[in-house]
C-alpha cells in the first residue's frame, strides 16, 4: 500500500503540470486558431500569405525544435520566459496552426447558399460568420478537433526536455530510482484516463449538436 502511494502521489503531482499546460493551451488555441483561419481566407492577400507562411513554419518544423527554440534561443536575444510560459508559448503557437487548418476546412465546407441567404437578409460579413457559419462549422470540426486535442494531451510529455516535472518525467525518475517499471504502466493509465474524459466530452458535444439533424 505504502509503495503504491509512493508511486502514485508524485505522479498525481506530475499530472497537475501536464493538465495545466494542456488546459491553458487548449483554451488559447481555440480563439487563436479561429482568428488564423479567418486570416487564411481573408480577401486581403498579404494577410493570407502571412498566415500561410506561419502555418508552414509551425507545421513544417518539429514541435520539439520549437520548444527548444523558445526555451533556449529566445533567452539569448534577451527574452527569458518562466519555464511554464515558454512551454505554453510553444504549444499554443504550434497547435493554433493545426487547429486553424481544421477550422478553415470546416468554414469552407459550409454551403455558399448560407452566405447568400444571410446576405439577402442584410447580415454583414461579421454577423454571417458569427451567427451562421461558425456555429455550423463547430459541429463539423468536432471529430478532427477531438483528434488534435488528444494529440495535445500526449504531446505535453515533450516538456520533459525542459526539465519540468510533468507526468512522464516523474514516472521516468521513479523508474530510474527504484528500478521498477510500474510507474510507466501507471503513467499509461493516467494518459488513458485523460483521453477517455476528452473522448467522452467530445462525444457529448457531437450528440448535442446532432439535435438539428433529420
Amino acid at each position: 500500500m505504502d509503495k503504491i502511494a509512493q508511486i502514485v502521489l508524485p505522479m498525481l503531482e506530475g499530472s497537475e503540470i501536464t493538465l495545466e499546460i494542456f488546459l491553458i493551451t487548449f483554451l488559447l488555441v481555440l480563439p487563436l486558431g479561429l482568428l488564423i483561419a479567418l486570416g487564411h481566407i481573408a480577401k486581403f492577400r498579404p494577410l493570407r500569405l502571412l498566415v500561410a507562411a506561419y502555418i508552414w513554419i509551425m507545421r513544417g518544423t518539429p514541435l520539439m525544435l520549437q520548444l527548444l527554440f523558445v526555451y533556449f534561443a529566445l533567452p539569448m536575444i534577451g527574452l527569458k520566459l518562466p519555464d511554464i510560459m515558454a512551454a505554453l508559448l510553444a504549444f499554443t503557437l504550434n497547435y493554433a496552426a493545426y487547429f486553424s487548418e481544421i477550422f478553415r476546412a470546416g468554414i469552407q465546407s459550409i454551403d455558399r447558399g448560407q452566405y447568400e441567404a444571410a446576405r439577402m437578409l442584410g447580415l454583414t460579413y461579421g454577423q454571417t460568420m458569427r451567427r451562421i457559419v461558425i456555429p455550423q462549422m463547430v459541429r463539423r470540426v468536432l471529430p478532427p478537433m477531438s483528434n488534435e486535442t488528444i494529440n495535445l494531451v500526449k504531446d505535453t510529455s515533450l516538456i520533459y526536455i525542459l526539465a519540468m516535472n510533468d507526468l512522464l518525467r516523474v514516472a521516468r525518475s521513479i523508474v530510474q530510482r527504484e528500478f521498477d517499471m510500474t510507474p510507466f504502466v501507471v503513467a499509461g493509465v493516467f494518459y488513458l484516463a485523460m483521453t477517455f474524459v476528452l473522448t467522452w466530452g467530445f462525444g457529448r458535444l457531437e450528440a448535442h449538436f446532432s439535435k438539428y439533424d433529420a
Partner: protein
Amino acid sequence: MSEEVMVRMHQIHKNFNGVEVLKGIDLEVKRGEVLAIIGPSGSGKSTLLRCLNHLESIDRGSIEVAGKSFAGESDLGTVAYETGAQGREILSHMGMVFQQFNLFPHMTVLENLIEAPVLVKKEPRKQAVGRARELLDRVGLSDKCDAYPARLSGGQQQRVAIARALAMEPEIMLFDEPTSALDPELTGEVLKTMRQLADDHMTMIVVTHEMNFAREVASEVMFMADGNVVEQGVPQELFLHPQQQRTQDFLCNML
C-alpha cells in the same frame, strides 16, 4: 395599381469566362406587379435575378431599385454596385427565395425568422417573435415553430424560407425557381403561398418553370432564351398568341 417603378434594369450584360449569358436585357417592374420570367435552362433568367440582388455582378448596364441607383457604369465603363451600408439599404427592399431554400440548419424555424429582424433591424425580440408567428400562420406552419429545418419536407422548408424573407418586410420578393427542387406533389403548397402574396399586391419577380403559375398569377411574362428577351407581354397574349417561333417551340414542349 400605382405606376411607381420598383425595379429597372437597363441594358444588362453579363459574361461568365468570356461566354455572354446576358446580352443587353431591359426589365421594368412596377409596384404590385408580378413578373414571371420563363425560358429554357441556360437562358440566363436565374443569372438576371442574381445580378439584380448583387449575388452576381453585371458587366455593363444599370440597375435601379425603388428609385435609387444600385449599379451603374462609371466614366471608365466599369460597373460599380452600391456597397456597404448604402448597398445593404437598397438590398433591404428585396427579399429572396432560393431554389435550395437555404434555411439555417442550426436554428429552429422560429429562430430562422427572427434572426435578421433582431440582428439587422435591431427589432425587440418579443416583437420579432410575434410577427414571426403571424407569418408562420400565414404560410400554414404555425405548428412548426420549434422544429429544425431538416425535420421539414421540402415544401414546408420553402414556405419557411418565404416567411423568413417576408420577416424583413421587403417591398419586392424575388423567387429563383422556388419549386424546382421539390417533389411534384409538394409544389402546390409553395405556389399557393406565392399566389397569396400576389393577391396581397406584393411586387414579385419569379423565375419559374411552372407555366400554370405564370399564366394565372403573373401580370407580365417574359420569355428568355440564350441571354435575350425573346418576347414579353401579358400572360393571355404570350401564352395564347406567342409571336415568335422560339416562344411557340418552348411553350409546345412545356405544355
